[in-house]
């Protein structure tokens, strides 16, 4: 029997761009005995799970651009285990029975967590948008400065940047629509 499973683009599959869905997805994996004990930078692209005993874990995803020094101590004292982070996206875990533990216990802090997640995505979104506007302007207003080869390259670049900007825009919209959970 296979004892390892690698998942590509875990953060982007299904509805996982919405933090609450990502948490539930981790929880379902753990319930089937698939565990990840450390989260690292590139795990949003590929993540390797090891087969073990099924466990009931609550996962929490928390976007924090800069953490104050008491951040981890606070979570740990409440019983959370720090798994790691992908950029600023931190993942916590707690084993439980009975009532499912929550890290965000009022609407304001749930919405704030999701707002921070949208803000993080908006950084890359803005970069891609600026690049695609830059190339579009160049292509439309200064066509004479370009050779035929340049044009092909610019159209290709424009397509890539525009597609990325649109995809990230959809991600932001999706998180924002689900901001209350």
């Amino acid at each position: 029997m296979k004892d390892k499973k690698t998942v590509l683009f875990s953060a982007f599959r299904g509805g996982n761009v919405v933090p609450a869905n990502f948490e539930n997805w981790f929880e379902r994996m753990a319930a089937e005995g698939w565990h990840v004990d450390r989260i690292r930078q590139w795990n949003s692209l590929w993540m390797t799970f090891k087969k073990g005993e099924p466990r009931k874990y609550r996962f929490v995803c928390d976007m924090q651009f800069s953490e104050r020094k008491e951040y981890r101590a606070t979570y740990e004292q409440f019983g959370w285990q720090f798994l790691g982070r992908m950029a600023s996206f931190r993942v916590w875990r707690m084993e439980y029975q009975g009532q499912r533990p929550e890290a965000f216990t009022d609407k304001e802090s749930v919405v704030a967590r999701n707002r921070r997640t949208v803000q993080a995505v908006s950084v890359s979104f803005t970069l891609f948008l600026i690049m695609s506007i830059f190339y579009a302007v160049w292509f439309i207003f200064f066509p004479d400065s370009l050779s035929a080869g340049d044009r092909t390259q610019i159209i290709a670049a424009e397509a890539v940047f525009l597609v990325c900007a649109i995809l990230l825009g959809i991600v932001m919209l999706r998180i924002w629509r689900n901001r209350r959970r």
Binding site: R68, T74, Y75, Q77, F78, S109
Partner: protein, 105 residues
């Protein structure tokens, strides 16, 4: 933050903020706040780590509470005079609500 600005931002305030400020009339760290609030509300409100962390950050940033000491990376906070004034005004507002809703119960 001036009292006027704090009033604008915090009144009316959420239950979470109210109970955190109320708890910090005595110096406490995050986990102790959660325990105190759970006791006060007889288990109805059990604040989560993320909510406590972000609320303390916000309240400290706005000068309603201040750190008084630190033990093992845990900051211990206490309410400031601005925080006390806000808490007092909010309590007055809630007392008025209570008084005016008396006929309903």
């Amino acid at each position: 933050m001036s009292l006027e600005k704090a009033r604008n931002r915090y009144i009316p305030m959420s239950e979470t903020m109210f109970y955190i400020l109320l708890s910090l009339r005595e110096a406490r760290h995050g986990y102790a706040i959660m325990q105190h609030v759970e006791e006060l509300t007889r288990g109805r409100i059990r604040l989560g780590a993320g909510t406590v962390y972000s609320s303390l950050g916000k309240l400290e940033g706005d000068g309603l509470i201040e750190p008084v000491s630190e033990e093992d990376r845990r900051k211990i906070y206490k309410i400031t005079s601005v925080g006390s004034a806000i808490l007092w005004e909010e309590a007055g507002r809630i007392a008025e609500l209570y008084k005016n809703s008396g006929g309903l119960l």
